[in-house]
């Protein structure tokens, strides 16, 4: 399989379209006959990451790269950034607003779910400027 890369825009606070990039990628991976368990992990991580950008970040980009040995997701935004990454990674930590909570978000479980489901995860953030989350998923040989 040759390498394939696709990117989608994510708009901050656009809850109507939030999740569309993740669902589109999930369908693309299904068409490519990739292992359903792997697709599930990629879909969950992508969706949690996409929702984080919509809720907490600024406008951003959702990119997926599909190679023969791995799938890489990179979700970045022009956000306010994350001041304390270890704290943000803790189960239950959340700065979600009441509006987010009414929609079922704000459990503080998104980043921990991503960490659990990705084979590798890397977060980089410049407070006041941007955030980038990169996750890799290895294909079974």
């Amino acid at each position: 399989m040759s390498s394939l890369k696709k990117c989608f825009n994510i708009r901050s606070r656009d809850f109507i379209h939030a999740g569309e990039a993740s669902i589109t990628v999930q369908q693309l991976l299904k068409q490519m006959c990739i292992d359903p368990a792997l697709i599930r992990r990629v879909a969950i991580c992508g969706y949690e990451g996409e929702m984080n950008v919509v809720m907490h970040g600024g406008d951003g980009l959702y990119c997926v790269e599909i190679n023969s040995d791995r799938i890489v997701l990179e979700i970045s935004d022009q956000g306010p950034g994350i001041p304390d990454i270890p704290k943000a990674m803790e189960k239950g930590f959340s700065t979600a607003s009441d509006e987010h909570r009414e929609m079922g978000f704000g459990a503080g479980m998104g980043l921990p779910n991503m960490d659990k489901n990705a084979d590798e995860m890397f977060i980089e953030s410049v407070p006041g400027s941007r955030t980038r989350v990169r996750m890799s998923f290895f294909m079974e040989k």
Partner: protein, 117 residues
């Protein structure tokens, strides 16, 4: 159990996906927190929730949930139903509360998401 059986047990009605009433369900999960659902739910499972937002359906699509039951007679907006229909996820609405819905389904033999009861 078949989805049609679950409909009977919960005195529920289909908002969409009635053609899928032969589908098999053996697990159930109840939550109003999207991250909980994403962490736990999967195939052959039904999601019981009080949340009728479009994100509830998107979360179900991502996690592979088979069907959604809205408790306490809640019904989502038409655009939410349309999205579920497009993704082949039956939506049901039951007059039962979350507690009573879970109790009845547990009684009928459904397990939790990890197969425990």
């Amino acid at each position: 159990m078949k989805l049609s059986m679950l409909v009977e047990i919960l005195e529920a009605l289909f908002l969409c996906g009635e053609d899928l009433s032969d589908i098999e369900i053996d697990k159930a999960g109840a939550s109003d927190l999207m991250s909980d659902i994403l962490a736990a739910l999967s195939e052959r499972s039904v999601l019981l929730t009080g949340l009728t937002t479009i994100q509830a359906v998107k979360t179900a699509v991502i996690s592979g949930v088979t069907a959604i039951v809205f408790v306490r007679n809640k019904k989502p907006e038409p655009d939410v139903v349309a999205l579920a229909e497009m993704h082949g996820i039956p939506l049901l609405s039951t007059p039962c509360s979350m507690f009573v819905s879970c109790g009845r389904l547990f009684d009928a033999g459904l397990t939790g998401l990890k197969g425990i009861r």
